[in-house]
């Protein structure tokens, strides 16, 4: 893995993810184990007052994790956390951004705290969170 600059203030490269499709949600539901019908069954979604199904929050967080695993080898990710702030509809295209906020030392280990945001292309933020990685 090539070295990514994780010095404080660094803006990590923005990653644009392809629009979410119904097929992707169906497969994600099956493979992840989260079978909540609100994400895959339009009849259920409509009965619940929605116009359509929408993506699991964990779809976007899964993409965020995938991007974070390009910043450091995955085993150096210490913490991944986020607040889900908007739904991702079918057709929504997640965009992952990160800015290194600061370095800390925890239990003698140097770490970087990275503020991350997932946004929908042309739309609202869907995740606001932090990824903590070990620097060495």
């Amino acid at each position: 893995m090539s070295t990514v600059d994780l010095s404080p203030g660094t803006k990590l490269p923005t990653v644009e993810i392809a629009p979410v499709t119904r097929t992707m949600l169906a497969l994600f539901a099956g493979f992840s184990g989260d079978h909540n019908p609100i994400h895959i069954d339009i009849d259920f979604a409509k009965k619940a007052g929605m116009d359509d199904v929408f993506a699991h929050g964990m779809v976007s967080m899964g993409y965020l994790a995938r991007v974070a695993a390009t910043w450091v080898p995955q085993e150096r990710i210490r913490n991944l956390r986020g607040r889900f702030t908007s739904r991702t509809p079918v057709g929504g295209a997640p965009v992952v951004t990160g800015v290194v906020r600061e370095h800390t030392v925890v239990n003698g280990e140097r770490r970087a705290e990275i503020d991350v945001v997932v946004t929908l292309a042309g739309g609202p933020q869907t995740i606001v969170g932090t990824v903590t990685v070990a620097l060495d």
Binding site: F31, H35, F44, A48, Y63, R81, G82, F84
Partner: protein, 146 residues
Amino acid sequence: MIDKKYIGMKSGPHVLDLERGRVRSYSKILGFTDPVYFDVPAAKAAGYPDLLVPPTFLFGLEIETDDIYSFFRTAGVDLGEVLHGEEEFIYHRPLFAGDTVTLETTITDLYEKKNGQLEFIVRHTVATRNHEKVVEMKSITVVNHR
């Protein structure tokens, strides 16, 4: 309103086998491309004992194994009103296909906001492998009585 008696309720231990096929399919659908998630010789060449499990993999398995949606029904929660509020993963050790992990989940808090329109379910899952903590997950589920 979800009964506060559920605060402190524990579920599990649930024993899970992390299977290669599942790791591959989950990794593929999220667009992982590194061979360590798919190809066992590549994983071993990278120093891993087997396929590397992606960071968020345990979340869905926990839901599936714990059958959380059955609990919601029992507690009177309408699945159509449920939203994922927050999620945190604390990583202690990487996981690999072939691992057997044990999950225990506790409902650590139940509270309301906006006069009960919003209910919050806080859950903490500890995953261990051979009695060693590997991952913790802290979830906040929001029930929005629109």
